[in-house]
Amino acid sequence: MKRLVGAAVPVTAALVAFFFGAIMLLAIGASPWEGLKAMVDGAFGGGDNLARTAVRATPLILVGAGITVAFRTSVVNIGGEGQIVAGALLTTVTALALPDLPAAIMLPIVLLAGIVGGAIAGAIPGALKAYASVNEILSTIMLNLVMVQLMNYLLRGPLIDPAEVASGTRNPQTERLPDGASLPILVPGTRLHLGVPIAIVAAIAVYILLWRTPLGFRLRAVGHSPDAARAAGINVKRNVTNALTIAGSLGGLAGAILVLGSEGQRMQTDGSLAGFTGSAGFNGIVAALFGGLHPIWTIPSSFLFGGLLTGATQLQRSLQVPSALAIALNGIVVVFVVSSDRVRSRLDTMMAARAEMNDSGGES
């Protein structure tokens, strides 16, 4: 019965999203029914589309799992976009620096590089919050804006493919990465690659971390009440830093997978964050909220939002409705979910604990 009540929020949110989606489609003169059919078909119709949905879901699972760690520690992480880019950049640099090693050696190294890159991008706002009382909502957003410029600088300058310079086209992209750094395709003929199971395993690992390890216990204790955690001898500052570092490392892994699983086997930019990340840093927040801030529920939730994204691509192709519709719908889902009682009570605990952290920020 509890499950049923738990499912009520996502189901209602989905209905609300469909309702507003239909209104938006009508507003721009497209048929909602045709639109819905195109979206469902694009998302889940046939193996090829399912594989594409799974691939789109992958960064959402990882970012979403990271969001649950941060939020359960009462730290807000809006920096997913920047963390993805940080991970992707370090993965790219590492892969280009290494000789063409066999995948069994190469892949763990370059995936780890992504994790480290994202961890650094998460640790900075984490440490700034813990030790300098810098509001992490703002600092993570600002780091996104810094990372997009860093990506553009590196891909237009030091990391640009020499072939692009030679031909004079100067498309901002790196050289093709070594073959060993390519994520193996699991189902021949589709885009389904090893990144998908890696993300699922990572989300399960986050669940184990949060509820089955001492570190997870400390993170959740801080998230529940920093003052009580401090009284129990838990180092609040270190755990706040840890939470954003873990969240960042998952975003970084998502960035690594985006590069290593890309069709071009390289990193490229159109000058915007979304052009590389597909807004996964934000959509991951949506997926995590929709999954009730639980890492396991974030998995099916991410598949749903991955489906929304691939469905929107199909919508653009067959009805000429811009795929930005999916972003607008995600916004509506967020507003709805955070207005619903169940998720709200969880988030209110978080915001109260955040305030407590700020109030006693100076000491300990």
């Binding site: 780091l143 600088y153 930005a324 972003i327 607008a328 916004g331 915001m351």
Partner: protein, 309 residues
Amino acid sequence: MSDFFTASILVATIASGIRLATPYLFASLGETIGQKSGVLNLGVDGVMLLSAFFGYWTVLERDNLWLAVAVSLVVGLVMGLIYATITVFFHATQGISGIGIFLFGLGFSELMFRRQVGTPLPVDKLPKIEIPLLADIPWLGEALFQHNPLTYAAFLAVPVVVFMLNKTTFGMNVRAVGENPQAADSLGVSVARTRFIAIVIGNTFAGLAGAALVLELGIFQQNLTNGLGFIAVALVYFGAWRPVGVMTGSLLYGLVAATVLQWKAQGIIPRGASDIASMAPAVLTILALILLANRVPAPAALTRPFARH
């Protein structure tokens, strides 16, 4: 390098800095009013994108700049009504619901732009108005008194907001419900109504910020703001929740941005490093947040929903 310090270039840079400060100023003044009432609005960027797009579209279709400003203002107002409703009546968690508003604005403005306009077509910009006599003062006149009407309006709004927050009953109520809603409630101040109005005013300012941005650039593209609205939220912390502080911060950002543009044009910043130079506003914000963190306390009830018990 020496070229930059010739008087005419300095004056032009200051004038352009003031122009660039305008959207920051509108947005952060609005955010100040909302935060003073205890409500964080992270959706400013999304509201700016929506108002900028609809203002731009109005100019394209109707060729009427003042109608465009009015449309942007109304878009801000409507978004304010929506955000106020979900915040005050549904007690949505503010730090996150604002992200929802942002995503909606980002997505819907792009959807409408791609569907209804397609490619970025340039439109008329707001005309410059030279203030009689003052505009003729050497150097100073060009820097301060040859701007478009929205720029004047933004700076004139500063003393108005100061007066409103400090000298009017509504302003007192705003500050009271932002500091101690329980006490304000027990004195008969409606927390819900005060916050609702503060949020709507704040978002209307964000709507004007969108108009100021798009009608200064004369063009729209997806994600036009590029994080400007988020920086405006940070400016409220920077300005310590005071309109004058917020204005100082906005001017600083405008001047930094103008200097970067000028240096790029003059080749002082080499082309290869221009992306690095574009980091300046965000890096500046992080540094400011580090330096100013906890110097001035935020409104005590910021982000805390209020419910009578």
